[in-house]
Amino acid sequence: MPIAATPQDRTPRDGVDVADLWAAIETCYAKGWTDGLPVVPPTESLVDAMLAAGPWAPGDVLLHEPVRDRAVTADKAAINAVMAGCLPEYFPVVGTALQAIGDSSFMLHGPATSTGGAALMVVVNGPIRERLGFNAKANLFGPGNRANATIGRSLRLVLLNCLDCRPGVLDKSTQGWAGKYSLCFAEDEASSPWEPLHVSRGFAVDQSTVTVFAAESGHNVLSHGTADPELLLACFADAMAGLGSMSPGRTAIVFAPEHAAHLRRAGWTRQQTQSWLYDHAWRTLADLKRGGKVEPAFYASPALVDWLYQDAPRGRPAALPGADDAGRVQDGDETVRVHRGLGREDIMLTVGGGDAGGHSAFFPSWSRGRSVPFVTKEIPV
């Protein structure tokens, strides 16, 4: 393991002296520094090697969370990346993913702390996928690949250790979900009917990127019985419009290669697929009300009123319901279509999974509101 030269201006780091490796692991547990799984003890030499593999100085701030005024330096990020089990060459990905979730538009405080219990999804694109050995194929969301598992885990350890997002303290997830341990995977660009995800978001094909998303737990979209794009996509639109996850928020869809191949053969473009899904992922306003999904506070929010009535045949009613009858089905509500999201741009399409099987995934955005955007950043190489 190479050991970086210690920068001259570095101040001594806080740390703990322990007897041996096992004591180190148990000390990390005792101090509340883990996600529940054992961590690699972050010795100075391992952390220096991690830092040396990235372009950042130890004191560089990779993420600043403004609500609590917390800054995560490259040094702290490297310590947590070591603990997560990362190889040093993963560190540029970890640091870039931290910068992405620290983008002001991502408003990290919400998805990091909310009852919604979002995971931090990281989609990797570009040549770095093969160089670091990411999994974009079978079981890409599940266990078995070091880059996928440890890079995603690094983000969670940073939230736990640097932002105090500990369960029941600042992480108030009602339930959370297993993706909060780690949710990092590469796009299967070769199986995509379209340009790679990052190219669709303005990057060059030879750039490597991360795209982050605050994701609720994924829904398996199962379809083995059709190659017809509209019949296939009807399953996705139905999942997207389920009352349980219906919102004006965003959508991430990870098409299995088998489903992607049906769209490729039919010549469907990315935009056409996004538009079809947006157009068909709707419930009537009456349905939403019958499911208790229209809260009194919605009618006090111009943005939410716009969402509810943007596809109303007769526009919004002259007099909006008051707080007491917001949830009561009214004349015309059966004809008002309320779509998931605000437009096709709210639907991110990517591809990944084993070559066999008609199992894709729909991930709703965190929160019952608008949630936070997709953020893509280039990985420095």
Binding site: V16, A24, K76, P111, C162
Partner: protein, 95 residues
């Protein structure tokens, strides 16, 4: 013997940078600030709280400010308004 490094943020500098505000001796005639944190029912909770407080205290004006989003900090302008006008401030999140 081996040394492991501390992965945490450490003590927040804000605790040092911001001294605790002085406590008002009385709410009689005092201007009270309400800061709803941006979730849907925060201000409703605060308004009910003020109703209850008025039963026991002769509160003066009430300054009501609602953040537009719980995921962002209070704006500098709103913070200055609250600090400049209010003898006491109550903040709440109501979902």
């Amino acid at each position: 013997m081996m040394r492991i490094l501390d992965p945490t943020f450490g003590p927040p500098p804000a605790a040092v940078a911001f001294p605790r505000a002085s406590r008002p001796h009385s709410l009689s005639g005092a201007t009270l600030g309400l800061l709803a944190n941006g979730k849907s029912n925060g201000m409703a909770l605060l308004d009910r709280l003020v109703e209850r407080l008025r039963e026991r205290h002769d509160i003066g004006d009430v300054v009501r400010i609602a953040k537009t989003n719980a995921s962002v900090p209070v704006s500098d302008g709103d913070a200055e308004t609250l600090a400049g006008r209010c003898a006491a401030i109550i903040t709440a999140i109501g979902d």
